[in-house]
C-alpha cells in the first residue's frame, strides 16, 4: 500500500462570518434574484410609460414628493442602525449595542410602513384604474412587503439575542440579516426615483 500525506484540518474554525460562510452566499443569491425582480418591475414601468400618451394618465396629478422623500430618509436611517448593530456585536461583542441598533432599525422600519400606508390611503387611483396604477401599486406593495418581512426577520434576531445566542464569534446570522436589510433599503432608491421623479423629469 502506498503511503499518503494527510491534510489535517481539525484546527480550522467552524464559526466564520461574512463571505467565508455558505449562508452569506445563499443570502446573496436571494438578493440577486430579488434585484432581477425589481429590475423587471422598473423595466415594466418604463415600458408602459413610453407607450402611454400621458404619464401619469390624463387627470391624475403628479405624485406628491414631501412625504415619500422624508420616508426615504427614515429608511436610509434604518440602515445605519443596522450597521451599528452589526459592528457592535461582530467587532466589540457588545450585545447591548446590538439590541439598541436592532431596536432602532425595527422602529424606523415600522415608521416607514406606517407612512407608506398614510401616503397611499390618500391617492385617488387604484391598481384597477389604469396601467399606471397597476405598476405603481405593484411596486409599492411588493417593496413594502419586503420591509415588513425584514422587520419580522430582525424581530427574530432580536429575540435570539435574549437567549444569549449572539457573540463576537457567532455573529453570522446578524451579518446575513444585515445585508438583506441594506438590500431592501438600497433597492428602494431606484424605485423612489422611478415612481416620484420620473413623471416630473419626463412627463
Amino acid at each position: 500500500m502506498s503511503r499518503r500525506l494527510a491534510l489535517d484540518v481539525s484546527e480550522y474554525p467552524a464559526l466564520v462570518s461574512g463571505p467565508r460562510g455558505g449562508l452569506w452566499w445563499g443570502m446573496l443569491g436571494l438578493i440577486v434574484i430579488e434585484v432581477v425582480v425589481f429590475g423587471a418591475l422598473i423595466a415594466t414601468y418604463y415600458y408602459l410609460k413610453f407607450l402611454a400618451p400621458h404619464w401619469p394618465p390624463a387627470g391624475e396629478p403628479l405624485p406628491k414628493l414631501l412625504l415619500p422623500t422624508v420616508n426615504t430618509g427614515v429608511l436610509i436611517g434604518s440602515s445605519f442602525a443596522v450597521y451599528y448593530a452589526d459592528t457592535s456585536i461582530s467587532e466589540r461583542g457588545d450585545v447591548r449595542g446590538l439590541r439598541i441598533g436592532m431596536g432602532l432599525s425595527l422602529l424606523l422600519g415600522v415608521v416607514f410602513l406606517v407612512l407608506k400606508v398614510v401616503e397611499y390611503s390618500q391617492v385617488e387611483y387604484f391598481w384597477d384604474s389604469h396601467a399606471y396604477g397597476s405598476i405603481v401599486w405593484t411596486m409599492i406593495v411588493f417593496h413594502s412587503s419586503h420591509v415588513l418581512s425584514v422587520v419580522l426577520k430582525t424581530g427574530v434576531v432580536l429575540a435570539l439575542s435574549g437567549h444569549g445566542h449572539w457573540s463576537r464569534e457567532r455573529a453570522q446570522g446578524v451579518k446575513v440579516n444585515g445585508i438583506y436589510w441594506h438590500f431592501v433599503v438600497l433597492i428602494w432608491l431606484p424605485l423612489y426615483i422611478t415612481i416620484y421623479w420620473t413623471p416630473r423629469i419626463h412627463g
Binding site: A6, V37, W127, H130, E169
Partner: protein, 659 residues
C-alpha cells in the same frame, strides 16, 4: 487504487466507515424518507420524478401525433388537443428538462468536487419538495380536466380573463411560479456548493467541465427565471384583481408579456442544454481517454453562451411588428451565439480526432447529439434571419427546429449521461447491446418524426391546429412523422427494459468501469452516504489520470461523529473552514408546504396569500432557530469559540503586518 489511505491520522478513529455511516445516514422508514437531506438521495428523486414526467410528456406527444396522423381525425377533439399540447410543452420545459438537469447536478457536483454533501442541504431538500408540489398540482388539474390550454407560453390576450374562463390558466400561473421558486432554490444551492465546497487544490480552472456547465446554468436560472415569475404574477393580477398590465383598453400592452416571457424563455432553452454540453464533454473525454481538447475555450464558450443568450429574446417576436432596426440587431445577436457553440463543436471533434474513441452506448448518444443538435442549430440560424422567419413563423418548421434542438441538446446528452453514470449511481452495468439498439431506434425516430415537419412548415401547416383537410396534402408527411414518434418511443421503451434488467441482474460495475478522470470514479459504486472516506485533494484537471494519484494527500481531522466537511476559498480552493451541516429534519417539507399554501391556495381565494405568508414566516423561523449543532448552541468560551477567536487574532496580525 480507488480508496485513499492516509499515512498519518491524528485520531485513531479517523476514516471509520461505521461511524461515518451512522453520522451521515438517514433514519429508517417513512419519516426518514420525509426528513432526507442527503444530496444523492435528493438528486435521485429529482431524476426519477423528472424521468417519470418525461414519460408522461412523451405519452402526450404520442396522443398529439395520433391525432395529426390523418386528416380530419377526431381522436382528441379541439379542447382536449389544446390541453394536450400545452401539457406536453409545459411538462417538457418546466417539469422535465430543468429539474432533471438540476437533479443530475445535485447528484454529481458534490461527488465531482470531492465534497460530502451540498453546502445548504436543507435548502436542497426544500427545492425538491416545492418541485414535487408543482408537478402534482399540474397533473391533478389535468386529471380534473382543467389543465392549462393556451400553449406553454400562455400569451395574453388569449390568456386574460375575458377570453379564458376556465381555471386552467390560473393553474399554469401558480404551477409555473412554484416551479421557478424550486429551480431558483436548486440553482442557489449549486452555486454556493461549487463556490465553497471544492476539494483543496481544485481552483476554478481545474473544475470538471460538467461542473462549469452546471455553474453557468445556475447563474442563468438566477438571472432569467425571476422575470417569468414577475410576468406570471402580472397576468395573475390582471385575471384576479383587475390590473391592466396586458390590457390595451387600460393603457397596458399584451406585447409586454412577450418581451418578459422571452427574456426568460430564450435563456431557458440554453439553461436546458448547457448541462447537456457539459455531460457530452465528460463522456467524450473519458471515452477517448484524453482530456477535452481546449479546456479554456470550451469553458469560455459555455460562459459566453450563457451571457449572449440574454440578448436574443426578440427573435421569437419578429412577426409582432417591432421596429426594423431593433429586429436587425437581434438577427446579428442570433448569428453571434452560434460562435461559442461552434467552438465547442470543433473542440469535441478535435478530441475525437486525435484519440482512439471507445464506441460505447454513452459515446453513441454523445455523437447522436452532435448530429441532431447541429441540424437544429442550422435551422436556428435560418430562423434568426427576419425574412426567413416571417415566411415560416408559427408553422411546423419551427416545431421541427426546436425539437431538433431540444431532443438533440437535452434528451440525447441526458441519455449519454445516464449510460455513463448509471454504473456509478446503481453499482451495475447496463447492457451495451440493448443500449445501442435503443440508441439507433431513438436516432432514427428523431429524424423520421421531425425531418418531415420542416417540409410541412414550408407547405404552410401551422402549429397547434388540431386537424387539417385532406385537400391540403399534409397527410402523408404527417403519417410519416407519427411513425417516427412511435419509433422514438420504442427506443425509450428499450432503455426502460435495459434499466429494469440491469437493476435486477446487471453485472457489478466496480468503482471505475470506464477509466474516468474525475473524482467520482475514485469512490465505490454506489458511493457511501458520506461520499468519500477521506475528502480528496487534487492538483490537476484530471486527478485520476495523474501518475502519482495514489499518493495524493487526503483531508483528515474532521470530526466524524457530526456532519463536518471542509470549505475552501472561492478562486483557489485553499482550505478555509469546517462547515458543520444539519442532519435529517422535517423542516424543509414543512416549509415547502407553507410555500405552496399561498401559491396554490390563490386558486381557491385571495385570502390564502396572507395566511400562507404567515405560515411561511413560522416555518422559516423554526428553520433558523439554533438547532442541536454544537457551533450554534455552544456557550462562549467553548472549543469552537476559541478556534474562531484564534482565527480572528491571526487575521488581525496579518492585517497589521500588511499595513
Amino acid at each position: 487504487m480507488a480508496t485513499l489511505e492516509p499515512a498519518v491520522t491524528p485520531d485513531a478513529r479517523a476514516g471509520d466507515p461505521e461511524l461515518l455511516e451512522r453520522t451521515w445516514g438517514s433514519p429508517p422508514g417513512l419519516l426518514g424518507w420525509l426528513m432526507e437531506v442527503n444530496h444523492r438521495r435528493i438528486g435521485r428523486r429529482y431524476i426519477a420524478t423528472g424521468f417519470a414526467l418525461f414519460l408522461l410528456a412523451g405519452l402526450e406527444a404520442l396522443a398529439i401525433r395520433m391525432q395529426l396522423a390523418v386528416p380530419e381525425n377526431d381522436l382528441l377533439g379541439p379542447e382536449v388537443y389544446r390541453q394536450f399540447f400545452t401539457m406536453h410543452g409545459a411538462t417538457m420545459m418546466f417539469l422535465f428538462a430543468v429539474p432533471i438537469m438540476l437533479g443530475i447536478g445535485i447528484y454529481l457536483v458534490p461527488l465531482q468536487i470531492g465534497a460530502r454533501d451540498m453546502a445548504l442541504p436543507r435548502m436542497n431538500a426544500l427545492g425538491y419538495w416545492v418541485y414535487l408540489i408543482g408537478a402534482v398540482t399540474l397533473y391533478t388539474a389535468f386529471l380534473l380536466g382543467v389543465a392549462p390550454n393556451s400553449g406553454w407560453f400562455n400569451y395574453p390576450p388569449l390568456s386574460r380573463r375575458e377570453h379564458e374562463l376556465t381555471i386552467g390558466i390560473d393553474v399554469w400561473i401558480s404551477v409555473v411560479t412554484i416551479l421557478e421558486v424550486a429551480a431558483l432554490i436548486g440553482a442557489v444551492g449549486l452555486i454556493v456548493t461549487i463556490f465553497k465546497q471544492r476539494a483543496p487544490g481544485m481552483s476554478l480552472n481545474r473544475m470538471p467541465i460538467f461542473v462549469w456547465s452546471i455553474l453557468v446554468m445556475s447563474f442563468m436560472i438566477v438571472f432569467a427565471m425571476p422575470t417569468l415569475m414577475t410576468t406570471s404574477i402580472f397576468l395573475g393580477l390582471d385575471r384576479r384583481v383587475g390590473t391592466h398590465f396586458f390590457n390595451p383598453g387600460g393603457e397596458g400592452d399584451p406585447l409586454l408579456w412577450q418581451h418578459m416571457f422571452w427574456y426568460f424563455g430564450h435563456p431557458e432553452v440554453y439553461i436546458m442544454f448547457l448541462p447537456g454540453l457539459g455531460m457530452v464533454s465528460m463522456v467524450i473525454a473519458t471515452m477517448t481517454r484524453r482530456p477535452v481538447y481546449g479546456y479554456t475555450p470550451v469553458v469560455l464558450s459555455l460562459v459566453a453562451t450563457g451571457v449572449l443568450s440574454f440578448g436574443l429574446w426578440v427573435h421569437h417576436m419578429y412577426a409582432t411588428g417591432l421596429p426594423r432596426l431593433g429586429t436587425s440587431l437581434f438577427t446579428a445577436a442570433s448569428m453571434l451565439v452560434t460562435l461559442p457553440t461552434a467552438v465547442q463543436f470543433f473542440c469535441w471533434v478535435a478530441t475525437l480526432w486525435g484519440g482512439r474513441p471507445r464506441f460505447t452506448t454513452a459515446l453513441h448518444y454523445a455523437l447522436g447529439f452532435l448530429v441532431i443538435f447541429l441540424i437544429g442549430g442550422i435551422t436556428g440560424v435560418q430562423l434568426g434571419a427576419v425574412p426567413f422567419d416571417l415566411q415560416v413563423h408559427d408553422t411546423f418548421f419551427v416545431v421541427a427546429h426546436f425539437h431538433y434542438v431540444l431532443l438533440g441538446g437535452v434528451v440525447f446528452p441526458l441519455f449519454a449521461g445516464i449510460y455513463f453514470w448509471w454504473p456509478k449511481v446503481t453499482g451495475r452495468l447496463l447492457s451495451e447491446r440493448l443500449g445501442k439498439l435503443g440508441f439507433w431506434l431513438m436516432f432514427a425516430g428523431v429524424h423520421l418524426a421531425f425531418w418531415p415537419q420542416h417540409h410541412l412548415g414550408f407547405m404552410g401547416m401551422p402549429r397547434r391546429v388540431y386537424t387539417y383537410l385532406p385537400e391540403m396534402g399534409w397527410g402523408p408527411l404527417n403519417l410519416l412523422s407519427t411513425v417516427g414518434a412511435f419509433t422514438l418511443a420504442a427506443g425509450v421503451a428499450v432503455f426502460l427494459v435495459n434499466a429494469a434488467v440491469s437493476l435486477r441482474r446487471g453485472e457489478p460495475a466496480g468503482d471505475d468501469p470506464w477509466g474516468g478522470e474525475t473524482l467520482e470514479w475514485s469512490t465505490p459504486s454506489p458511493p457511501p452516504v458520506y461520499n468519500y472516506r477521506w475528502q480528496p485533494t487534487v492538483k490537476s484537471r484530471t486527478p485520476l489520470w495523474d501518475p502519482d494519484w495514489g499518493t495524493q494527500p487526503v483531508v483528515t481531522g474532521l470530526r466524524e461523529d457530526q456532519r463536518e466537511m471542509l470549505s475552501t476559498t472561492l478562486l483557489d480552493a485553499r482550505p478555509d473552514n469546517r462547515e458543520i451541516l444539519p442532519g435529517p429534519t422535517l423542516v424543509p417539507l414543512v416549509t415547502a408546504l407553507a410555500t405552496a399554501v399561498p401559491i396554490v391556495g390563490v386558486l381557491f381565494g385571495l385570502h390564502w396569500v396572507p395566511i400562507g405568508a404567515a405560515l411561511f414566516f413560522v416555518a422559516i423561523t423554526a428553520w433558523n432557530w439554533p438547532g442541536a449543532m454544537p457551533h450554534r448552541t455552544e456557550e462562549p468560551g467553548g472549543r469552537e469559540h476559541r478556534l474562531a477567536q484564534r482565527e480572528r487574532e491571526r487575521e488581525e496580525a496579518e492585517e497589521e503586518a500588511g499595513s
